[in-house]
Symmetry: C2
Subunit: 596 residues, 2 copies
């Protein structure tokens, strides 16, 4: 008998005395508290990711939930904590990964949660442990970063408390997780996006805007009739407790409230307003900003904010909290919540119409607001010397008849083998090894559709000189449609960056850097690139790892709108943990050792 098969050689009694560990597929563990607190150095959370039939806007749909609920639990930790999330994937055939948006993953680049970049996807039935330090106070979020799983509802809020150094005071706090919501499944959206022209289908405008996973669709718009239980009829039930309450922010008069806001929207730029109340912006993307006051706030997918709201209005009534779509012709009803001046009953409707916010296509308004952000004094200083400049042209294109987005004429196709693991284990041929273009043909006319719409699909890597200061100039251009350029919010993983400049038209490498704000540019991780405009990000490439820079419009990234940066992985002292391996060539590598 072959000794490899030792446990077959045992007697029955031997078999029966063996330790039996249940490796069966998921069963829900006891529901965990939706807000899981932690004050210890290491806090362990146990998550089960599974499908749920849920009605976020009163229309029932399959969503991806965590621990039996949608949205995912709010995590609250303290600076210096280590967060350890034991993620058990209970989806029967689908794999997942979760990105911790705004967490720089210093020293744990394999924890960034991008399947194909920093880890292998977490297979169904598998448990994966995310473990990283919460090293900076602020308001963050997390969301699925695999396929269109953000659109499928895999997201939540992550708040890191500052125990000592909060540079402003407040009496109370509310959290608002903003998202846009479709009745179409993520799969239907995927098929539409991947179909060649003319079958291509854009995901369309969302049916609802959600705050904290709740909204309300107008059930009279849902088709009626049809065969019962056929799946042809969408169930819309306004008395479903999963949707029936618009968001209610209960406040008392003459206090200051900190509203922590995170947008995990898939496509929608949003505008947030509270009737008759000014919004004092104090934090953006986990960084304190020089406070400024606004009537309403533009919020792009992936951004987070803290605003201070003074309840200094007449106390005998409630006020509207209004969330509107920006930058796209709105076809989605605003989300209307209530600022509830206790003890006024929360059900009392405000007597006047809700604030409408700026006109959807008033780009000048948005541009002006974006100029108001300055970093708060004492929180970091922008380097004034730059060692490398990369100019990235954002274009809409086609590849083999499919619509794609491209950066410098390359549309990103993530490899099956993640970059970080390929680099760490010296696996060749895992991705396209040519160097990607660091600028574009300066004769390109950014004000017209591309003359040649075809681009290349590739998985190239931008190798940044380690510890050097980098400028990345994002250059927007016309889409495939005449006289059309769209807002593109961009997010950098592993870093915050200083937004040193932005301007209309084509970036001029000679002239425009002279107008950079090197005094107090805002430090962010997600920034909008306005139509026909440019934006310059500056950061130090000092975080060993592989990091995405990409559009936070989820379908656009799905269509290739991103690049991959590599920094100092040759200096990493630790290899990525084995749990991040097991796909593509990392699987072959490991399995080949079994045969030795």
């Amino acid at each position: 008998m072959n000794s490899r098969f030792g446990h077959h050689g045992g007697t029955l009694s031997l078999l029966l005395t063996m330790t039996v560990i249940c490796c069966c597929r998921c069963m829900y563990c006891a529901a965990t508290n939706p807000v899981e607190s932690m004050r210890e150095n290491v806090t362990k959370l146990s998550w089960e990711v599974d499908y749920l039939l849920w009605s976020p806007d009163c229309v029932e749909k399959v969503v991806i939930g965590i621990n039996g609920a949608f949205p995912g639990p709010s995590i609250r930790g303290y600076v210096g904590n280590v967060l350890e999330v034991h993620l058990h994937n209970c989806l029967s055939t689908e794999s997942v990964s979760i990105h911790w948006n705004g967490i720089r993953q210093i020293g744990t680049p394999w924890g960034d949660g991008v399947a194909g970049v920093t880890q292998c996807e977490i297979g169904s039935g598998e448990t994966f442990i995310y473990r990283f330090k919460l090293d900076k106070a602020g308001t963050y979020s997390y969301y699925g970063f695999h396929g269109l799983q953000r659109s499928a509802g895999l997201y939540g809020m992550l708040i890191v408390e500052d125990e000592q150094k909060v540079p402003f005071e407040y009496d109370g706090e509310h959290s608002l997780l903003l998202s846009d919501w479709w009745h179409k499944s993520a799969y239907e959206q995927e098929v539409g996006l991947q179909a060649p022209l003319p079958q291509f289908r854009w995901v369309g405008e969302p049916q609802s805007l959600l705050i904290n996973g709740r909204g309300r669709y107008d059930c009279t718009l849902v088709p009626k009739g049809g065969q019962q239980n056929s799946g042809d009829v969408k169930v819309c039930n306004v008395s479903n407790p999963q949707c029936s309450n618009p968001v209610v922010l209960r406040v008392e008069r003459n206090k200051i409230y900190r509203l922590r806001i995170a947008s995990v929207a898939s496509i929608s730029s949003l505008n947030f307003a509270v009737e008759k109340h000014k919004l004092m912006v104090v934090e953006a993307d986990g960084n304190y900003v020089e406070p400024f006051e606004a009537d309403d706030l533009d919020i792009y997918p992936g951004q987070t904010y803290s605003i201070l709201l003074s309840t200094n209005q007449f106390a005998g009534r409630n006020y509207w909290v209004a969330l509107n779509v920006r930058g796209r012709l709105p076809q989605t009803s605003p989300h209307l919540g209530i600022l509830n001046y206790f003890p006024v009953p929360a059900t009392n409707k405000p007597p006047f119409p809700p604030p409408k916010g700026p006109l959807w296509n008033d780009t000048a308004y948005s541009t002006a607001q974006s100029q108001l952000y300055k970093s708060r004094e004492g929180y970091g200083k922008v380097p004034d010397k730059v060692q490398k400049q990369i100019i990235l042209l954002n274009t809409q294109n086609t590849v083999d008849g499919k619509i794609k987005w491209a950066i410098n004429i390359v549309s990103l196709a993530l490899p099956t083998t993640p970059y970080l693991q390929a680099l760490s284990y010296n696996i060749h041929d895992a991705y396209d090894c040519e160097s990607p273009p660091v600028t574009y043909d300066q004769s390109y006319d950014i004000f017209s559709p591309p003359k040649n719409a075809n681009v290349t699909l590739a998985s190239m890597l931008y190798k940044l000189p380690f510890r050097h200061t980098i400028d990345i100039v994002l250059q927007n251009a016309n889409t495939l449609t005449l006289r059309n350029s769209e807002i593109n919010p961009w997010h950098l993983h592993g870093h915050d960056f200083w937004v040193v400049g932005q301007g209309l038209g084509k970036f001029d490498p000679e002239k425009d850097p002279k107008s950079y704000n090197l005094k107090n540019p805002p430090l962010r991780h997600t920034v909008p690139l306005f139509p026909y405009a440019w934006t310059t990000l500056r950061f130090k490439a000092d975080n060993m790892g592989v990091w995405l820079l990409h559009s936070t419009v989820e379908p656009r990234f799905f269509m290739g709108m991103g690049i991959v940066l590599e920094e100092g992985t040759e200096w990493m002292l630790e290899e990525p943990p084995s749990c991040t391996m097991g796909c593509g060539l990392t699987k072959e590598l490991a399995n080949s050792l079994l045969k030795l």
Copy 2:
């Protein structure tokens, strides 16, 4: 510099001369011929599995297709051929596996395609090669064996031709792939099945019956109105070429046609009839049977047949081909195709109503028909000596408030680590190591709902004595509903079995074996177990591997209705190929070697 990171140490020119292999995510390769022929010893097929928006019954839905079409390509090979399918999984987040239904996988147990049993699931972006011998002529099928991917449309036909020894003659051939079809997504079905009572939802009756992936739903039943592109409105378009033709079997008069029929239905037992034509059954489940004539044919999920049809009727008209639901109160319109006596135009409707088949609940009719099957003389002999008997009680139960199906009070929960790989690499704790019960408490009342509905979820393994002859008695019982027992079709992997006996009521181990047919019982791989009845299967445990025995009602297997058999894996000379590894504990094993 660490040598692990060698290719970073290279110069730019070194980088540029490296071989660049595209490992990017899927792009459709050129569409392959739907019927792929092979006469060579090894035939390679290249498959890309991806979502498609498709309208099999004129209602648009996301389906899982192969090479851009639904259903999957028909494979046609010859006895002795090796089939090599390069399956590239283009689903963005979903893993797959494909079972080759009826192929015994002698010497290639890792090719059986059951995620969690014979292989790790094939992750998104990964390519997996199925390679096995087509060792026996017959009509087979293939389908997804992971989650509810059969219901999602991942299936096709597999025909192995006999070059010399076909024991009957015919002039022409038609293939019919039968399936049932829902408008609900597989995910919605999953959520309903996994929800605890009272949220539990059965998948319900199918909306349509398909032949060769086509049917026609009554579009007037689809709800109208709703917001455009919201996903709330199902598109139903009878002029969509994907659905608009019912099946047409073109024939000439006075010929004999071989109809190859395979059912990949998820839940529906079906009845197949051709108006005014007798069906001469000559093959069942890839084995020749003693020919017999029937007016119509009961076909259970997973079964395959060949019937000879003599076109001996009046040639001036067409005849109905009718497919009806059996054993469940029909809520699905029959599929009505056309037997087209050329040169009558195929569009000429037959002048009389279509055949209705037997009453849906006429179990006696089905039982009687199942008795007509005898193995064809000269094609194998049943062993008359049995070394081991296992009695399996089929019950409907609950586990933690969820509805499950169980065998001998154990509901199967497949482990994340596949059994075959765990055994081959001596991985402990991959599954529950106790021996599962080989019979049930004989005081159990099979005519009543279970007194204690609770059962255990487990992943135990039945170890069969290698090369011994085994009798498995399947015993049906009452479900959770009073006075209700349901037809359960059972399928054994890795084997054909002789159906040596069946009877009503509780199997009597003393008396009933005396009535076994040991002369010419039919050799099959899928057999119905009738309500309140028993069926005995006999086979020789001579195929090294790990094999499922399970209900072919897909949601019932999803709910635990199956057992896992192990045969002689200690004698296997080859280890499972590394591509079958990479999940659960096989991943940890391989990765641990990386750290050495």
